[in-house]
């Protein structure tokens, strides 16, 4: 077979599936955002009315604000925690493999289960957290009924669930650093902190960029564990943009066009932030 054609033939089945189930629906989503439909069969062209409705909708802005708070906190915490854990797990300590497995375990859990379990733990009256706090005389905070506390809980659970995955990426990055850099720094008399700050962190920058981009995308897409943990409550405090889209797409009254417009905005936001991040880091690396 012609060697120029053969590679394309090998990837063709995958590209077909990818095209039909990912690319086409994604492109069609832009199209649907210009229509109004309550049943997925009859579509009325409305131009930019769905976007205008989103801009005028207080609930959309509330979800957008909650999303920004969640994503910023999630990305910062997950990046810092994964670097810290990776450095710890990179040490020659006893049971290192077991620790790595333990930190990775939450990644394997179903997000629905994660939401339900943490929901029970943080229940104000009968939850484990408040039973312990009550036992030591610290009262019964309404973890899931106070807007600020619920946001903190959602961020904490998000970080707990995903930090294991990013730790593994950071660990791979750490292990890719040539040990001679550290040896040279030690010979020059650098302390442990100086070696970490001036050798490890700069050399870990490409990996950190990957973690920041991936965790940012994950943060923007957060939905399933939040839905089972708080349902977006109390009073919309933890309703993020994906839940807002979900509610308009799949809960009565169905508004496919409005939900699609929300997805387009989400796509553009993630795409834009990823591009900025990518270009900024590329320039820094080049400099």
């Amino acid at each position: 077979m012609n060697q120029r054609v053969a590679p394309y033939l090998f990837v063709l089945p995958n590209m077909l599936i990818f095209g039909v189930f990912i690319i086409y629906p994604a492109l069609n989503n832009f199209n649907i955002s210009l229509y109004d439909s309550t049943n997925g069969r009859t579509f009325r062209y409305v131009g930019g009315a769905n976007y205008q409705e989103l801009v005028d909708n207080a609930d959309f802005w509330s979800a957008a604000r909650a999303t920004v708070v969640f994503v910023v906190c999630f990305v910062v915490l997950v990046t810092v925690a994964s670097i810290g854990l990776a450095v710890l797990l990179d040490q020659r300590i006893r049971g290192r493999g077991v620790f790595r497995a333990i930190f990775f375990l939450p990644v394997l859990l179903s997000p629905v289960v994660v939401g339900l379990v943490w929901g029970w733990i943080f229940d104000r009256n009968n939850g484990l957290a408040n039973t312990v706090l009550r036992g030591i005389g610290l009262g019964q905070p309404g973890w899931l009924v106070d807007g600020t506390l619920a946001t903190v809980v959602v961020i904490f659970v998000g970080v707990w669930t995903h930090v294991g995955f990013y730790t593994m990426i950071m660990l791979a990055g750490l292990q890719g650093i040539d040990p001679t850099y550290h040896e040279a720094a030690m010979i020059d008399g650098a302390s442990r902190w100086q070696r970490f700050r001036s050798v490890t962190l700069p050399l870990l920058r490409p990996t950190t960029m990957v973690v920041v981009i991936l965790s940012m995308i994950t943060g923007f897409q957060a939905f399933d564990f939040i839905w089972t943990l708080t349902g977006g409550g109390p009073v919309g405090a933890t309703t993020l943009i994906v839940q807002y889209i979900y509610m308009h797409a799949f809960q009565s009254p169905i508004r496919y066009g409005l939900a699609s417009a929300g997805s387009v905005i989400l796509f553009c936001t993630i795409f834009g932030l990823t591009a900025i991040n990518f270009l900024y880091n590329r320039r820094r690396s080049a400099a």
Partner: protein, 426 residues
């Protein structure tokens, strides 16, 4: 970064192709070509004990008529989405059980075309305007009726020496709250009264305080003074700890029942409805009973229910209509009600009553509440704008409990939501 010209061209072409075509195929509401086989599909969601009762009835229907019924059970949360997808694929089921027919109104079969004598004018009058199409078609059959009302923990009432409510002389809201608080105090339960997180359940309270989301003639209702009194009472009960405020705040945008609080013995009065009877008969570890609704300005509960429909896309329209008529005959509805602890929708059965094999007293409490329930509540519940308004009321009540809105603001917001919902269905 320089983007190659062919890439730009390909992207522009793809965008142009997509923009040029409408994503829908248009609604095919014409009559489907009819098939000759004797097999129909029935898409169903279950509330629990009704599934076996439905299967029993289907067996009887299959034996009697020789028509096979393929019962397809889907989760309630996915029902609308599933049916819309099937309608899009021209693969609608022959029969479906729905709680809200509005999203499908243009797709529903006129059952009068096949079963007018068996179905027309037979069912509860309150549902008539909802189930009737623009040109007088019978689009749906109310297959079971629900009635909201309180369930009480009899053991806790007895321990507190508080008399049980009398059906002949129903308690007022004030008396019910006082009784519940006394029982709570003696039994040291967490709460006195619990209510499901639902705008439909709150409508019971609104009705008892003398108002409703809509007037009987379909305009925005919600009398300012009466609605304010109901919302203030609701907020006071929650803020004082008599009601579990956490249940309303913690539910977010999801429905949440308070049945687990009642079953755990942590609340002596639980405002829910007759659909709990079967489950409580099985799960409750204490003596409980259905109680008459509290009367404030008005008595009675609040209706709800499910419907059986067929679709214009059905390839077995006559058989589907025959099946719906058979399932809702007096004999079948009686059997269904007895086995699943449902309330009938047929006028003849509501008048004559039904003898339930178990928990008959409780079921008859709910049955007698139907007679006391004001007619406008039926018009409200069967209004196409009800669902959106009730959901808005649920969200707004949570805002009041979180201290984000005042009860006065809540009345305004719910009225606006009712107006918007009404405009949406016009």
């Amino acid at each position: 970064m320089r983007v190659p010209t062919p890439t730009v061209a390909a992207a522009a072409l793809a965008a142009a192709m997509l923009a040029a075509c409408s994503p829908g195929t248009g609604s095919d509401t014409g009559t489907a070509q009819q098939a000759n086989d004797k097999k129909i599909t029935y898409v169903y969601f279950t509330d629990g004990p009704d599934e076996q009762a439905t299967r029993n009835l289907i067996s009887g229907f299959e034996k009697e008529t020789g028509i096979q019924v393929d019962l397809q059970i889907v989760p309630f949360d996915n029902l609308e989405q599933t049916l819309q997808a099937r309608l899009s694929g021209n693969n609608a089921p022959d029969v479906a059980r729905l709680s809200d027919i509005d999203p499908f109104r243009d797709d529903l079969l006129d059952l009068n075309k096949y079963q007018k004598s068996a179905l027309d004018g037979v069912f509860v009058d309150g549902a008539k305007s909802y189930t009737t199409g623009k040109n007088g078609e019978l689009l749906a059959v109310p297959s079971d009726l629900t009635m909201n009302g309180p369930l009480i923990n009899v053991d806790q009432f007895k321990k507190a020496n508080v008399p049980l409510p009398d059906e002949q002389k129903p308690w007022t809201w004030t008396e019910m709250v006082a009784a519940a608080k006394k029982v709570q105090q003696v039994n040291k339960t967490q709460y006195a009264i619990a209510m499901d997180v639902s705008g439909h359940r709150f409508a019971t309270m609104l009705s008892e305080f003398g108002t409703d989301y809509f007037t009987a003639d379909g305009k925005v209702g919600l009398d300012q003074t009466k609605a304010l009194a109901a919302i203030k009472e609701f907020a006071d009960l929650n803020n004082s700890g008599a009601m579990p405020k956490d249940v309303w705040l913690q539910a977010g945008s999801k429905y949440k029942g308070a049945n687990d609080v009642f079953l755990a013995g942590q609340v002596p009065v639980y405002i829910s409805g007759n659909w709990q009877v079967s489950a409580f008969a099985k799960d409750a570890k204490f003596t409980w009973a259905a109680a008459p609704n509290a009367c404030q300005e008005r008595c009675g509960g609040y209706p709800g229910g499910k419907f059986m429909v067929s679709f214009k896309q059905s390839k077995h329209q006559a058989l589907a209509a025959q099946f719906i008529a058979w399932m809702n005959s007096a004999k079948s509805q009686t059997q269904m009600c007895q086995q699943a602890a449902f309330l009938p929708t047929r006028k003849d059965l509501i008048s004559s009553g039904i003898t339930y094999p178990s928990r008959s007293t409780d079921m008859n409490v709910f049955l007698s509440e139907i007679q006391k329930t004001p007619a406008d509540t039926f018009a409200n519940n069967y209004s196409p704008a009800f669902s959106d308004t009730a959901n808005a009321a649920r969200d707004e009540l949570a805002k009041v409990l979180a201290g984000k809105d005042t009860p006065e603001q809540a009345v305004t917001v719910i009225r606006a939501a009712a107006q918007k919902a009404l405009e949406g269905v016009k």
